[in-house]
């Protein structure tokens, strides 16, 4: 069955004296096909450790992770698992290997040993999917941060993944680049049914997801729709997080006695709610 399941997973890193420092404690969750899931959590909450378990970059010390029924602790499956679950990391400069955009995207499919015609087809499709057709022969280091991150995404897409995991992939980008990358991800999700897992500190980015998982000290603290999760603002703040600015403002207005919906997560919604409120006066 197409599904990622994480069952009772614990993981620890050794400190320099060899003592284990727990990073994940008995974590269970499921990523279903076609979903967009955001994983939130403070620095050190275990969210990146969790993400690395989704494509067997890390293997659980206890518990089990399976990707489309392949157990990640089985080395024989790693090749298939990593092709199925593509990862994009924070720093675009660390993810680029070739001297032109198209060669960089071709790196993965070439390593799969595909016939040249199929490699070309895959590169073409990936270039189209991220909107970089015009840049194919450019050296990647000449591109903007957002374009480099889109090259990294295209490189992953060329392997034909079913899941795309973005580990703080927008955190080093300028505002326009951040929007570009999110638009690209949204396009893949909406038009191609790509399953998306984003790990982020950006609450507006998290609000785009269907489901949010909040990590705190190695465990799942909260799980639910953005509206459900952000309604638990005191728990989020305890976990070192915050709510989206629209909701924060709505909350404060509500505290001051205005009757305002508790599910305001975006600017548009907040403007609507305020308009309605004023016309009632």
């Amino acid at each position: 069955m197409a599904l990622i399941t994480v069952e009772n997973v614990s993981y620890s890193y050794p400190d320099p004296s060899g003592q284990p420092i727990p990073a994940l404690k008995n974590v269970s969750l499921t990523i279903r096909p076609g979903e967009w899931v955001a994983i939130l959590g403070a620095n050190g909450s275990g969210k990146s450790t969790l993400a690395k378990h989704l494509n067997a970059l890390l293997v659980p010390k206890e518990g089990r992770v399976s990707v489309n029924e392949l157990d990640t602790s089985d080395k024989e499956s790693w090749f298939d698992i990593r092709r199925t679950v593509g990862m994009v990391f924070q720093n675009p400069d660390n993810q680029i290997v070739a001297t032109t955009v198209e060669e960089d995207i071709a790196f993965g499919p070439e390593n799969l040993g595909l016939p040249p015609r199929e490699i070309v087809e895959r590169v073409e499709k990936a270039l189209r999917d991220v909107g970089l057709e015009g840049m194919r022969t450019r050296p990647p280091h000449d591109l903007s941060g957002g374009q480099k991150q889109r090259v990294a995404i295209a490189g992953v897409l060329a392997l034909g993944p079913e899941y795309l995991v973005l580990d703080e992939a927008t955190s080093m980008l300028d505002p326009v680049s951040r929007r570009e990358v999110l638009e690209t991800v949204r396009h893949l999700h909406e038009n191609q049914g790509m399953t998306v897992v984003t790990i982020t500190h950006d609450m507006d980015e998290a609000a785009l997801a269907h489901r949010i998982i909040v990590m705190d000290q190695g465990s799942v603290l909260l799980e639910g729709s953005p509206v459900e999760v952000f309604s638990q603002s005191h728990l989020l703040i305890q976990a070192g997080l915050e709510v989206p600015p629209a909701l924060d403002i709505a909350r404060r207005l509500w505290d001051k006695g205005l009757s305002i919906d508790p599910d305001v997560l975006t600017l548009d919604k907040l403007v609507n709610v305020l308009c309605r409120l004023k016309s009632l006066n």
């Binding site: 620095n43 300028d174 326009v176 915050e242 403002i249 001051k256 600017l267 305020l274």
Partner: protein
Amino acid sequence: MPIEIAKLNYVYKRDTPLASQALFNMDLQIADGELVGIIGRTGSGKSTLIQHLNGLLAPTSGTVIVDEIVVQGTSAGKANRDVRSKFQILRERVGIVFQYPEHQLFEETVYDDIAYGPRNLGLTATETKERVLQAMDMVGIDAEKIAQRSPLHLSGGQKRRVALAGVLAMRPRKLILDEPTAGLDPRGREQLLKLLQRLHREWNLTIVMVSHHMDEVARMASRLVLLDRGKVALQGRPEEVFVQTEKIAQLGMDIPFCVKLMHRLKELGWPVNSGIFENEAVVEEILRVVQASKDNEWVRHSRNGPEGRASC
């Protein structure tokens, strides 16, 4: 003493086929005690500019004057021997905190890491200790608990403070920070921003911070400088800069959430002030308008739509 930059040009890999110019004829002054935010897209010249402020880069042509230390374009584009000492003084006066400074922590203990700079200045153990303890105090690190621990075992936010303390222990008069909150969680970010505000206020440090977070710089900075392709495209107080919504969009920047909200409400006929950058202040402003609308005729007016604009 202010920072004065005049006609600054910088070319990477000059005299090679790969030469590319990063700064064009830039003029910029930064007065003592200012908190300046530098914004702009990737590749707009932000990092190149700040590296000129403490002599990590020397101008290809033009002048950078910091505390009356003059760094001029040299024909070789590199510092020669007799200006070395000048660069040394410059680096003491101007501290730079790079992106992800915690990646540069390397000593076995937090104390030694912060002491690295002062020791290299040839200070005595007593003087060094005084500086280290003061720097730890400035960034809010509990010396008793943390001084002897390995910096690698601290949380992300703490590591960044240690890295900042290492720069402060050099007692710079000016502090330059490149994306100081990148990668920090919301709590860590908030704490770091408060810390920078305190350093600015209590120690009267001149601060220049580069940031991609518009909400952050709008709240912090007394002046914003927006760079575009190696030139200053826009500068002024945050409320002056973010009013220019079209230009900002053209230059590929974003507008702080609070300003966006205020602009939207203004378009709808709300008489709100748009130069507001804190959620709390936004709430006050909305309440003021809602209250006023209950009391006066503005409600009737805006229902009809002032001057035919959309309204609510």
